[in-house]
Symmetry: C2
Subunit: 455 residues, 2 copies
């Protein structure tokens, strides 16, 4: 038996108590804290995406993160509503949900002003979206997603613009042509195949489509056995499925039951996409399914060609009755979503993320507190000239300490304005990377700094 | 009795049924849909704010919109947690809330890396925040708020930087010097007044502070009667309160029980702020309270001087133990929040919002569908030169129709590349505002366009 020391035990317990009172610094599961270096990456990605989309004349919109549950019940898939939605009753008894996707909000907003908006409507957004999922590679509970949509163009020219834009986003990140592939299909072809070729009952179509969608994730045996129960005549029908999945844009019409119209549409798409010089990266792939909700025509996904990163980067397609839930107007649209997590994985896989630095701004030291006014006024002058300037606020710190702070903060350029410099109307400009410095007149400072900082 | 026509009635009921099936296009109460023109305003405001904050060396961060309820229970006021929080239980039985303010997330994130972050820590964020409130002027359920904080500077130099930055944001919007006033006080002065001068019990302090905070919103009678129950000796104490509220930076020390230290601190602040040339807009105001939560030192608010817009624009101050909830580290910080709704009201009141147009981009017509390739390639060239270009995708539309679309979309400049132009290697550039046009060679186009668009 160990002899207890009651006083020590009390102190020990008090310490535990105190320690336990501290709240966890962990963020909510499946989300990310964006520390400045993470935010810099996010902002960099967003700015490049926005620049490309704006260069096509698209305009940004946004909606509230909370919407009435009804719009997801009606528009999103059943799996999302039942298992993945962050829904709750608000203090006014309204059943609301945090948006799991942007499309229902988009449809609501477009429907609200469908008659007034000049067409075609070209809109984009960069919302954060929430799904209750088991977090994994490329899948988080909160992620951001670029949403790009064009409404009011019935011709394939809209598909060409959307694919051109989607590829230009990747090119803007310096992605090589062979780093991705655009795979497309058409809902009209898929539906006809399920209904006419396989003669499936409508209630079986969705189940079979889901299995086709996941074909690449399972073995051939698993694939076939999962279909057996759904097919009335498996032996013949598995052959037809094989023929369908192995068809190309020229042979798909040979399958009985496939109508001409959607095939001609995608052939026109394929002919026109050649203008962009990327046709070798674009292919018809009848296994492209895109869930089973609002798409009605052309559908596509863009994949990373690196096998390490198998998830599709983009998904999108044409929908003909998206605003019908809110309005009697009819308006055909085509759009896509590009998630920040999948994009970041793509950029990492291909080494396309640059190193971020603070080489275009300066750190201004404070040699003693009596010089604070001078430093403050110099900082103001610098900022007015467009030079971002962080000031050291503690004049009791030695120069070495201040240099070390500037280095830790990632600065390359440092300014020193001590008493001697003020007397002579000079400033010392230090390059911490090259370990050199020069004394320049205050008049010369702005000119030299802008050159050095590349402003 | 009216004779019923069963068939007509059935059609009528079916129509009602169809009509009723349409979901409302209204957004959730107390929130805003940002249509492109609203988003343009929001982006313009955010960009100016960010530019100023970044020019001071602050770095952007962000956190998830959902946090554990615990951090608000511990950090936010009781009123927020009980009445204004959007909290719910997630599918994994975690009690979570949509952030009503950013400070608890900030404290959690800083505490998580307190030892590694180079100090001073200068951070900002632009989160959307949610409170369940009755929507009213300047008050919505979802709003955005610029949050700016600096940690690790104990001297008044941090206050100077923060006030300088706050004012520079308004100046960046071209706000005149007399359009706003900075009112400041110090928690040490307020607490001493309540505790030492009025000899209030700790549990009464908060109630009295709340009444002082709202003094300007009630009549003198209402003000005094609401205090009667809380003051042990109302006759004398109401006089002291009057003396306190009418004191200035030089006379506040004459009130018995007010300690020297905080008064010297704010006097130093007031002396130094003169450097910035804005001291006539800055005043000590002992009625500044700032709720009763984490502030421990200097506190301030910035008000619109226009009486139409009474709400304070900014609120902020110094807190000495904000991260103590998560960590044993001690770190003094000072920060403020500036809401987008109050800022927008301020800018509107003072006519500081410019007209937005699309005069720096072009609309490219499509004279017939056979020219789509030429148009697509010209658009690509233009975009590569940094010229935002929206294409007309319907070659069946007459030129007049296309011009009218461009005008509705707000474009001033329009390009026509018809068959004749292609043959002669020319392009027509139309100025829709001046109703003129010129034919220029394709080679000259980029140079002329950049001049005209101001790129």
């Amino acid at each position: 038996m160990t002899r207890e020391n009651p006083e020590k035990k009390a102190i020990f317990l008090r310490k535990i108590d105190l320690a336990e009172k501290k709240l966890s610094t962990a963020n909510y599961k499946g989300t990310r804290d964006f520390y400045p270096e993470d935010m810099q990456l996010r902002n960099w990605m967003f700015e490049i995406m926005k620049k490309v989309v704006i260069s096509y004349g698209y305009r940004e919109y946004d909606g509230p993160i909370l919407e009435s549950l009804d719009i997801y019940k009606a528009k999103s898939g059943q799996e999302i509503v039942d298992k993945q939605l962050y829904d709750f009753i608000d203090k006014g008894e309204r059943h609301v949900a945090i948006r799991p996707e942007m499309t229902p909000t988009l449809a609501r907003m477009v429907a609200g002003r469908a008659r007034d908006l000049p067409r075609p409507i070209r809109w984009f957004s960069l919302p954060n979206l929430w799904r209750y999922e088991a977090p994994g590679h490329g899948r988080l509970r909160e992620h951001w997603q670029l949403n790009v949509d064009i409404f009011g163009v019935n011709s394939v020219n809209a598909e060409i613009e959307i694919i051109s834009l989607a590829c230009d986003i990747l090119f803007a990140f310096n992605a090589p042509k062979d780093s991705f592939r655009v795979k497309f299909s058409h809902r009209g072809i898929l539906s006809s195949f399920l209904r006419n070729t396989l003669s499936l009952l409508p209630e079986k179509e969705e189940a079979v489509a889901k299995i086709l969608d996941k074909k690449n994730k399972v073995t051939q045996e698993e694939f076939e056995s999962s279909l057996l129960d759904l097919l009335p005549n498996p032996t013949d029908q598995l052959k037809l499925i094989d023929q369908y999945l192995n068809s190309n844009i020229d042979t798909v019409l040979q399958i009985s039951g496939i109508p001409e119209e959607p095939v001609i549409y995608i052939q026109e798409f394929y002919d026109k996409i050649k203008i962009l010089g990327i046709s070798e990266s674009v292919e018809f792939d009848p296994s492209i399914i895109r869930g089973f909700d609002y798409y009605t025509g052309f559908i596509f996904e863009i994949f990373d060609t690196n096998k390490q990163n198998k998830r599709s980067l983009y998904g999108g397609g044409r929908y003909d009755n998206l605003i019908g839930l809110f309005s009697n107007e009819e308006l055909s649209g085509i759009g896509f979503g590009l998630g920040d997590v999948t994009l970041e994985n793509f950029l990492k896989t291909h080494n396309l993320i640059p190193e971020f630095n603070r080489d275009s701004s300066v750190y201004l030291t404070l040699m003693n507190n009596a010089l604070f006014s001078d430093i403050l006024l110099l900082a103001r002058e610098l900022r007015r000239e467009g030079i971002d300037t962080e000031i050291n606020l503690d004049g009791n710190q030695k120069l070495g300490k201040q240099i070390s702070i500037a280095e830790k903060k990632g600065y390359r350029y440092l300014l020193v304005l001590g008493e001697d410099e003020i007397k002579d109307n000079n400033v010392i400009l230090k390059d911490l990377k090259e370990s050199n410095q020069k004394i320049i007149s205050k008049n010369q400072l702005m000119i030299d700094l802008k050159l050095v900082l590349g402003i």
